[in-house]
Every structure is written in structure tokens, then in C-alpha cells.
Amino acid sequence: MNNPDNIKKPLSTISKENPFTAPEGYFDGFAERLGQKMKEGQKLKEHPVKYSLSLKHYAAAAILLIVALLGGYGLIRNNSHTATSNLLHQEISQAVEQDLYSINEETIIEVMETAQGETGDISAPANEEAIEYLLNEGMNEHDLINAL
């Protein structure tokens, strides 16, 4: 059933002759071409690549490379700094806005009272000076109480 001879049958109708050909004279010149290729390979191994550039060219290229690298680094740094600043500004504005909206009336009154208290203490000597000055200038006590 699975005898290879049976399987081979369709193949037996096909010629086993080599259907491929090589260009004329190919084998005669093969050794020569191979020798040539091997010599070229050997030359490449011995002298990998010959550069015709002088030291000046290398120096100029190195300077250009350094300048480009420094320029690139500066640009990246500036960009990142500006970006950070922009971000900070945005964040602060947002925070301030959010805080203002979240402050209720009670907090405002509390803060103002504290501030008044503080201002009162700090400005007390300044009021005494003003009263003394006004009395010296001839203002009577009645007018002074009304004014205060």
C-alpha cells in the first residue's frame, strides 16, 4: 500500500535527466575566478580600508561633532527648563484658583479679623502719635473723638 515503488509511479513519467545547464566555459574558468576572489578577500584582510582623509579633516570633523553635541545638549536643556517653568506657572495658577474658590465666607472673616487684630497691635503706637500731633495742632477732644 505504502510501498515506495507505488508512490514513485507519477515520477517515473518524468525524465531524471539534469534539466539545468551552466554557461559555456563556466567550469573551465572557475578556478581562475575563485583565485581572484580569494586574492581580493586577502587584500581586504591585510588592508581593511584605506582612508585618504588627513589629520586636519579629522580635527575639523571632531570640532563640528563637539559643537553639534553641545548645541544639542543646550537645546534640550533649555527646552526642558522652559517646559518646567511653564508647568510650574500653570500649576500655581491652578492651585490659586482652586484655593480661592474653595475659601468660604467664614474663612475670609476669620482671616480679616486676625489681620485687623495684628494691624491693631502693630499700629497702636502710630495712633497715639497721631492723636498727640492733632491735639498739639489745636484740635479739640470732641472733634478728635468724632474723627476716630
Partner: protein, 186 residues
């Protein structure tokens, strides 16, 4: 009378190669002795003359650099065939990578090339057979060509491909079945 290339046995050629004075002569004799056999072995795997020529040259370059380290654990013929087979498979894979194509597409491309190849003189049935062989997995293709066209013994093939006779027989059997199906279908 001077000895012909074919008159030198493999062991004589190896002996000559190991002598620094006769190394190049020995190498040229090896090239003369095996170039045609290896060419047709590679050609049946790669199909086009240009690819075969490139690969054959690379094979002999490897032989030149590697023959010094050849320990004669196998015959020279076996060793040369192994290098030729491996180089051919490497070439096919590099072709696949170069064009970022799966292997099937490379095979399709090869089948199309064959139709217009000026160095393919086969008739319609032979072309059909070559196209059927191209549908086989790489290793089965190698086994099929070596057994069917080159008529190598399984033992020789086992040494060249470093595998067992049993595995080769099974591989050849599968290859024959697939080719038969392919030929009857189309």
C-alpha cells in the same frame, strides 16, 4: 606522465595540502576534482546559476581556511558536501532575511525565476517537478535531491547531514508522498 586530478585519492590530496610547499597545488586539485559535483548539488537547491556560482565560491573559500583543521573524522567528500549543503541553506535563509520574506515567498520567487531561466532546459513535466520540490520543507528538499537525483546511499547521506538512516528514510518517504500529491493535483 603527469597524474590527472581524478587519479589523486582524497587522502593523497589531504597529504599534499598539509605540506606547505604543495598546499596551493593540492587545493587547486581539490577544486578541480569536486567543483562540478558540488555545483550540481548546490544548483538543485538554489536553482539559479548566479546564486550557485556565488555559493560555490564561498564553499571553496571555507574549504581553504578550514581544511587545515580537518581531522578526517569523515571523508573529504562527505565534509565538502556538508559545507556545500550548509552554505546553500544559509544562502536561502539570508535571501529570506534580505527581502524580509517568509521562506514560502522565496520559493514562489524561485519557481517564477525558473520559468524564464535561460539555463533551465527542462520540459514542462520537469518544470512541474521542480515546482513540486519547492513546496517541500528545506530539509526534505535536500534529502529528496540527494536521494532521487544524486542517488547517494542513505549511509552517505547520514554522514553528510549528520542524522540517522531511519530519519532520512522517513524524510524521503514523506517527500515522495508530497511530490506525488502535488503532481497529481496540478
Amino acid at each position: 606522465m603527469a597524474k590527472k586530478t581524478i587519479d589523486y585519492s582524497d587522502s593523497e590530496l589531504l597529504h599534499l595540502f598539509r605540506n606547505q610547499k604543495s598546499k596551493e597545488t593540492a587545493f587547486n586539485l581539490i577544486v578541480e576534482k569536486y567543483k562540478e559535483r558540488l555545483y550540481w548539488h548546490i544548483r538543485k537547491l538554489l536553482l539559479t546559476h548566479e546564486d550557485t556560482d556565488d555559493t560555490l565560491q564561498n564553499v571553496f573559500i571555507k574549504v581553504w581556511t578550514g581544511l587545515e583543521h580537518f581531522r578526517e573524522e569523515s571523508g573529504l567528500f562527505t565534509w565538502l558536501y556538508r559545507i556545500a549543503t550548509n552554505e546553500s541553506l544559509t544562502f536561502l535563509n539570508s535571501k529570506k532575511r534580505r527581502f524580509l520574506l517568509p521562506l514560502v515567498d522565496v520559493e514562489k520567487q524561485l519557481a517564477n525565476t525558473l520559468e524564464n531561466d535561460p539555463y533551465f532546459n527542462g520540459d514542462e513535466l520537469q518544470l512541474k517537478l521542480q515546482k513540486a520540490i519547492l513546496t517541500l520543507p528545506e530539509k526534505q528538499r535536500v534529502v529528496f535531491n540527494m536521494k532521487y537525483f544524486e542517488e547517494l546511499k542513505y549511509e552517505e547521506m547520514a554522514e553528510i547531514l549528520e542524522t540517522s538512516v531511519g530519519a532520512l528514510k522517513a524524510s524521503f518517504h514523506h517527500a515522495m508522498k508530497k511530490i506525488e500529491n502535488c503532481l497529481t493535483e496540478h
